[in-house]
Amino acid sequence: MTTDLAALFREHHASLVRVLYRRTGDHDRAEDIAQETFARAVEAPPRNPRPWLFAVALNLVREEGRKSVRRGRRLELYRAESPQSSPGADQVFERSEQVLAVQDALATLAERDREALLLKAEGFNYDEIAETLGLAKGAVGTTLSRARRRLVEAYRTQGGKDVAS
């Protein structure tokens, strides 16, 4: 049983905030929810910290989401090139468009699909994803398959540009 909050924090905080930020698109909320999650871990030390922390954090996001209207992110982005534009600024602008398009594409996914995808991006294996999301392990592969396909299709539908590897 891990009861050392400092160790828990060191090990999981950055990853938790990253998932929460990708899930909510809001750094403040991500930090707030991460703090609340660690506070709960102190009150009731988890046996298996990683799935527990992420399950609690994602539950908090869902609870909060039910209470508040999600901030609209549908933005009409201007893509015209300007002869006065400097390459650096245009690259920054274009990248920001890609990020917003990805966030919008993520928002179109079903909750479970999105969360499974974000957890996989953090290096979770199927057992951990199943435990965190309360899924049967056998359903994780199907969930990820659907999530990946839908994310890419939603991104392309919005006119998202190819992302170089």
């Binding site: 933005l75 920001s96 917003l100 995808l117 592969g141 659907r146 999530a147 994310l151 992302v163």
Partner: protein, 322 residues
């Protein structure tokens, strides 16, 4: 062997299968063209999805330390209530007449945390520090125009005994430390540049890099950012360094794209903002919400986005300020 389902293909791609099971599947893909095509497609989706997710990175630096909404609303309500009570108290003492019938009603409905009116008659000779509420003291968005008061107080200090109005103003509900810091900072930075500095502006920049927390403190509240962009750094400079800015207040600048895009912002005192709005309304100007083209208002913050991109792109970026 039957054709594997999508979930099994994902398991293979994600390294969740091993040993004999993996060997059997690989043998199947080697001999089944349609399944090999499905595998290739699934791999392409996996790689593309991974790249897309990796694009969304947490902005560097700490979050903006937003105060919980409920508390902000409470503080605002208390400040408003206290200012109403204060106004009634000032009017009453200014007239030197018996209390109007409405006064007891207003005072009676004011929250106990805002004792300005109740305390004014009994503590007319007391120092202002006796009265303010602990909660209101930390409020960064006072109802009263603190900065203007501070200037007026400096130019025209009240007599030692403090007349009734002076005491009442001194008991204004919010005299936040945050604002005082901002005033000090503004005074420091708003000093007119020397002639040498003007002639050699490129050599001496009025901007200094500050932490996000320092930016929040200077701004007196939550910093605005451009959605979808990752800030490089936060800078602070005098209002005199930015066209259209209030020269008496510091400007907090969020720098993006190695300096190619900047978001400048200020938080004018409430009264100043109202005067500005009235003036712009009287002039029929400021369709964009600010006195100067390019500046916009969002809540208590005025901001402008500048950069070496097209005007349309700047407009788009300004629309993404949160």
């Amino acid at each position: 062997m039957s054709h594997p389902d999508d979930g099994t293909i994902q398991m293979l791609l994600d390294g969740e299968l091993a040993g004999a099971e993996r060997a059997r599947l690989e043998a199947h893909f080697a001999g089944c063209e349609p399944c090999a095509a499905r595998l290739a497609e699934a791999r392409a989706f996996l790689e593309e999805a991974d790249r897309l997710v990796e694009l969304v990175v947490v902005p560097p630096g700490p979050a903006r330390r937003r105060r919980p909404v409920r508390r902000q609303a409470l503080v605002r309500t208390l400040a408003w209530a206290a200012s109403v009570v204060l106004a009634v108290a000032v009017g009453y003492y200014g007239r030197g007449e018996p209390a109007p019938g409405a006064l007891p009603t207003v005072a009676a409905t004011a929250p106990s945390e805002a004792p300005a009116a109740g305390g004014a008659p009994a503590t007319a000779g007391q120092p202002a520090v006796d009265a303010p509420t602990p909660l209101a003291r930390t409020n960064p968005a006072p109802a009263a125009p603190v900065q203007d008061e501070a200037k007026a107080a400096a130019q025209n200090p009240p007599p030692a005994g403090a007349n009734r109005q002076g005491v009442a103003v001194g008991q204004a509900p919010a005299k936040p430390e945050l604002r005082d810091d901002r005033l000090r900072e503004a005074a420091k930075m708003a000093a007119p540049p020397s002639a040498a500095a003007l002639t050699d502006a490129a050599a001496v920049t009025p901007w200094r890099v500050v932490s996000m927390e320092e930016g929040v403190r200077l701004l007196g509240g939550q910093i605005r950012l451009i959605d979808g962009l990752t800030p490089d750094r936060v800078e602070a400079g005098p209002g005199t360094a930015v066209a259209g800015a209030d020269g008496s207040l510091p400007v907090v600048r969020i720098v993006y794209g190695a300096g190619s895009i900047a978001l400048d912002q200020q938080r004018p005192p409430v009264a100043a903002a109202e005067r500005r709005a009235e003036a712009s309304s009287a002039l029929g100007a400021a369709a964009s919400g600010g006195m100067v083209p390019g500046w916009s208002s969002q809540g208590a913050i005025r901001f402008v986005v500048t950069g070496s991109v097209s005007p349309e792109s700047l407009q788009t970026l300004a629309g993404r300020v949160r």
